[in-house]
Symmetry: C2
């Protein structure tokens, strides 16, 4: 836990330069636009501790699996979104002396992430070892209008001398992934070019042979007046640069503008990719810094209009929620069905930048309620396109007849993860894939998606569940043995309640969906029946019904709660508060076996199931389970507190709800888990948003209708959030007295507030008293 970020509603602010915090700030101040992302590394050389990170969406490397003891079925590689060409670099020399914040005396340092406009700004006064003092200001953004462009304005003002300022703007492909399994370098150079004011460099990834071309165009101004550029050029293996030197009088400011373009072979033909990058950089330069900045800022302001949350009376909470929303939007825009959301987004290397069930369970609800449905739809199509790979993945594990097991971790549909207890056993992820289809349709009404894509996925997943269970005469039930639930602090357990629940639900939903498509899309139905050879081997419909009816979902007689898995109730059930001081988090202090045989729950498990199907349980059941499982949960996954926060809100446990909200909201800003230096917890940020909108706001979609039941945390004066729903954009403001609903769109909406039906015509405001 740290507290060095200054509180501000719209800005993330670091004041004063502390090298020990640099890697944390590099994560926090990251910028991105869905197509690329950039950690907040300095432009100028920095010899202190830094994790340089530039990432290009979808460009990955299959890093050979590292394993202690091989198990049949392990994947050959772990896909990693690669640290890519350094396009931000601008080395700076003053009268031949290099600027390096590790050796200079630094004053008045500020680093600001301007969230409203999506800008990274930095300024400082540096006294070089020679005593020369300069002021530096830089502004950087990855444009969300021209998504191939990253733009930098870098300004230097001599404060106590007149002399030469030399800029060396560069492109550098001597880049390593710190998490490389075998210390390999993943890039080879394809081509490079450099001339006065311009440079370009193209690299190719080993094995996957992606090409990424970077280019820049430069402009220079002195005291606001554009200068003709007289650059020397530098060209060496994997690196190109310009060297621009100019005399600057004391207190005058020289500004270098670096218009970069980063283009990948996902979008550009390899034969002309470098020229595409060069053209894009030239176009950006032609548009000019001010116009680029203006368009970019306005687009951000527009985005905020759809998804902003305001909080009055708690600037820390306000700052945090915006930070989370900003990062979600910087990571994924839904423009390309081949892309998805890594747990660290573009802010670090950890987890390989690839896709987990986090997407379906946490991110999808965020995008469903904050933007156009097509964004969420792309996340579903991503999985649909991987269906064949998921079937192959299941076949590797002995499943047949088109059964699909979606991978735990993937970028291209192939499994990357190699820990048997997770890779092979944490199969509840398959349930998240099927529930996502339901969730999407429930929010959007786009039932046709079932016919187009959804049903095939549902059939394949249901086939998996059908083969994964076994009938037990002794229990008179279908059992699912050897699984790992969301609570990864239990491995290889039998009848994880959440997993069995997701299987049961999927089998039922698939049967409903089959009936729906048969009725509404008979031709498509016939095609799917033929393609999947449905029912040819066995009467799938009736077997699925039988399993759904008889799958083990035991409730404990003594406590009345659902049993997390067989045997859980026999553990020594001590509340988390019994863990000795200094031994928390347990994953850092206890050996794995000790964690496994303890009662402690890493993240919501039974409660994840109750959250998912809240409507199926009465309040008393929810309360019993929450009261039982909450004290046993250690929340050592960043994905956990939000679920507890939402359930606590719905049970009226306001203090608890707020406690968990705080924990998730400022996780990275306050470096709560001492790991922000690795990158931000992007996917759990969606959970933070859910804590506000679903938790405090009580937002639910039931049978296609929006329901609200807002509460106001007593720490806040008021708050507001927005929901995009079925073409309408509703702003919900919650004060002590009332709920003010404002329809900011041209589409009218009927909704439920505290259980009462309300009609909210286009562009109208409706005030409802607080419950």
């Amino acid at each position: 836990m740290r507290d060095y970020i200054k509180k501000d509603p719209w800005n993330i602010i670091e004041e004063g330069f502390d090298p020990a915090l640099n890697r944390i700030s590099e994560s926090i101040f990251s910028i991105g636009n869905g197509k690329m992302g950039q950690r907040a590394n300095f432009e100028e050389k920095y010899s202190g501790s830094s994790l340089r990170g530039s990432y290009v969406a979808g460009v990955y490397y299959p890093d050979k699996t590292r394993v202690g003891w091989w198990k049949n079925g392990y994947p050959e590689y772990f896909a990693k979104v690669l640290n890519a060409v350094n396009w931000i670099g601008i080395d700076v020399h003053v009268d031949g002396e290099e600027l390096d914040l590790a050796t200079a005396k630094v004053e008045s340092f500020t680093r600001v992430l301007n969230m409203r406009e999506g800008l990274l700004q930095r300024q400082f006064i540096a006294t070089l070892p020679s005593g020369k003092k300069i002021q530096v200001r830089s502004t950087r953004f990855t444009s969300i209008v021209d998504a191939d462009n990253g733009v930098i304005r870098y300004e230097v003002t001599p404060l106590n001398f007149s002399g030469s300022v030399r800029f060396t703007p560069l492109l550098d492909l001597n880049v390593f992934n710190q998490d490389s399994n075998y210390d390999e370098q993943f890039w080879i150079e394809v081509s490079r070019a450099v001339s006065n004011g311009k440079a370009a460099l193209t690299g190719e990834t080993k094995k996957t042979q992606f090409h990424v071309a970077a280019a820049f165009d430069l402009a220079l101004s002195l005291d606001g007046a554009e200068q003709a550029l007289q650059a020397e050029t530098m060209s060496q293996e994997k690196k190109v640069a310009n060297v621009v030197e100019i005399q600057v009088a004391q207190d005058k400011t020289v500004s270098l503008f670096k218009f970069a373009a980063i283009v990948s072979s996902l979008y550009s033909d390899k034969t002309q990719i470098q020229s595409d990058a060069e053209k894009s950089a030239a176009a950006a330069r032609a548009k000019g810094f001010d116009t680029m900045l203006k368009e970019h800022s306005e687009a951000w302001v527009q985005k905020w209009a759809e998804c902003d949350i305001t909080i009055e009376g708690d600037v820390a909470a306000q700052q945090a929620i915006r930070f989370n929303i900003l990062q979600m939007n910087q990571t994924y825009t839904g423009e390309d069905e081949r892309l998805n959301i890594g747990p660290k987004g573009f802010t670090g290397e950890k987890y390989g930048g690839v896709t987990y069930w986090d997407t379906e369970a946490y991110c999808l609800p965020f995008y469903l309620k904050t933007t156009d449905p097509k964004v969420a739809r792309q996340l579903l199509v991503y999985r649909y396109k991987h269906l064949q790979k998921a079937i192959e993945n299941a076949a590797k594990l002995g499943f047949k007849n088109g059964a699909a097991l979606y991978p735990m971790v993937t970028i291209n549909g192939e499994e990357c993860h190699n820990e048997w207890e997770i890779t092979f056993e944490e199969i509840h992820r398959n349930g998240a894939m099927s529930f996502a289809i339901y969730n999407y349709i429930n929010h959007t009404g786009d039932s046709a998606y079932l016919a187009e894509y959804g049903l095939e996925v549902l059939i394949a997943i249901s086939r998996f569940w059908r083969q994964r269970v076994q009938w037990s005469e002794r229990r008179n039930a279908y059992l699912m043995l050897g699984v790992t639930g969301p609570n990864e602090y239990e491995n290889n357990v039998n009848n994880n309640w959440y997993t069995n629940l997701m299987a049961q639900w999927t089998l039922n939903y698939t049967r409903e969906s089959l009936a729906y498509v048969q009725q509404q899309h008979p031709e498509r139905y016939a095609a799917i029946m033929a393609a999947t050879k449905f029912g040819e081997h066995e009467d799938e419909l009736s077997i699925w019904a039988d399993i759904a009816e008889k799958i083990a979902l035991p409730r404990d007689e003594q406590t009345g709660v659902f049993i997390q898995h067989d045997g859980y109730m026999e553990k020594d059930l001590q509340p988390m508060s019994a863990i000795p001081k200094g031994e928390y988090p347990i994953h850092k202090h206890w050996s794995w076996d000790r964690i496994l045989r303890s009662c402690y729950i890493k993240q919501a498990d039974v409660l994840q199931g109750i959250y998912t199907f809240e409507g199926n349980y009465d309040k008393e059941t929810i309360r019993k389970n929450f009261d039982f499982y909450e004290p046993l949960t250690v929340h050592e996954s960043s994905l956990s507190p939000c679920i507890h926060s939402i359930l606590a809100s719905s049970l009226g446990y306001e203090d608890l709800a707020y406690k968990f909200y705080l924990r998730t909201a400022r996780l990275d800003l306050d470096d709560y888990n001492h790991d922000t230096d690795d990158g931000l917890h992007i996917t759990s940020m969606a959970g933070t948003w859910m804590s506000v909108v679903e938790g405090f706001g009580g937002a639910r979609v039931k049978q296609g209708q929006l329901h609200l039941a807002p509460a106001l945390p007593k720490q806040w004066q008021s708050y507001s959030f927005r929901i995009c729903f079925r073409g309408a954009l509703i702003k919900v403001a919650v004060t002590e007295q009332a709920i003010i609903l404002e329809n900011e769109s041209d589409v009218g909406l009927n909704l439920s507030v505290y259980g009462s039906e309300k009609s909210l015509p286009a562009r109208q405001i409706l005030t409802v008293a607080r419950d």
Copy 2:
């Protein structure tokens, strides 16, 4: 399964050279003397497929752990007995043309392991590419009299020409371990020396800084007449050699004698280790080949007199059992308490050449009954010396108060293994350590061992069990959660019956042992009480008694068998015969999760417990459990069939007993598991011996008395075995009609045969009718 080894009672014979079998033969024909071991690699250069292996006992390297996903408590390294200096090499050129069996035409090739005398012999006729034909004969042994010496006689006879024969006897430290985790080379050179007829080379292991010096002295004879040696010398980094050239007339034989010495810093001071090796090589040369050979052979004949098993009427079985006894004796002699027995002995790199519970559970019974008790005692002392490390190991996992967890894999007492489900959870090994103490005392009567060493180990292990269980109100029992039993095809199960049984037994035996030492060795008792702070934290004796009384050891009501672990009975219990053809062994065909959720048992588990405490169960209980678990057991550990064979014998299931015996006896000779090329299954060879002596022979030691109940497999005419017991050496011959007991020692013995007390005075023979 292969069948290329010729059947012979005293020899292992390969006829004809098949390069595809070479690595298998290199394992099978391995020689060793407890201090060093050598795979049956060729002396001359061989460019075909080969796993060169020379091993020096106790010389290991801590190879940095390779792991996919780190877990708290994993060790930093895996200790590996290193592939060491190649001392056998003799390159051969004929008129300048190199001999290489990969390029020559090879006829009349035979490789023979003369088991009676402990010799490796090879001969062949090779036609070189030039057409020159030579006959080669080599004889090699690692002396069991002069255990630092390896000796080679290498003979060449030109068959169709007269010309020069050039020998290049060498020492070479350019040696790699194929199983190196990071492709490191583990040796650095310390020094070398070479002169006419002599060479020496000293290497140091990285990190552990063991020194190993090798030296040789040469002799040369032509047609039986010793020749003065005129050698050129070769010396380069990590390699020294002589080059000896001699003119040889057609049909005359030149013989090179290589007297090697290999000395490690376990036994020699580093400052003079190379000179020690040189002196040892010179002494061997002075003794001469014939004398060295004669002493070595006679010592082997003497060894056989103590431990031979004869089988009439089944030469394959006869060959196999001798092969197993030979390899056990080549691997471990009990002369050094710092040494132990790796699963592959000195015959390969797999499993690192380090120590598993195999030693206590399988090897100890072999040495207890086949040789002087001091050999078995050394195996116990090995663990005693590691007690402090075992306490530290347990502390790493959160245990306190002097609780010890012996490592799964070790060479120096530190844990090497890094698979949580085995490293942290396969804790039944602790029971094997305590049972070994009982087993040793039961066999030898050396109760004083308890006071000297045993009790401290027992206390520490009992403390571990005490902390490892937890009380369950619901079950009204102590439970042991999250373990892996001997059946490694189940991970993280609760209440593995075998593990709980071993815990219960240890707690009781420790209490008895405390009482015994208190009474018989009060001073030592007081010292142990003080050193262990016994009872200072809690009333250990009464808590242990309570746990032993109430630990969960459930019997299934429906079937009456002991439940392998919680939930096992709910599995889909299909006999092994239900596994589809082509999917066996399942560990090569099924993914790990599929194996785990199946009912299949890798190796004896409940049955291991029943075998260990056979006397505690009535025949009906044993039969029920055997009948239930046997069909579910896939025997995918080489340690499994012997236990089933012994129990089948005791139940009178003769065919089954014989089937399992065959499977274990010729495991390596017939390359049953297609892995003999990696090395021999040394520790399971002890199990083969147990199958005969405990299985067919029915030998047991009960309350310090030897019991016999021999049966005769119908495939055999007769068989005999020997047992060393309490100073007596008893030969037991079993024919169709009778048991002939011969006391080959000067110590009389009372024993039980088929339940009747018999007295067998020194040097007497007693004939008992077959039961």
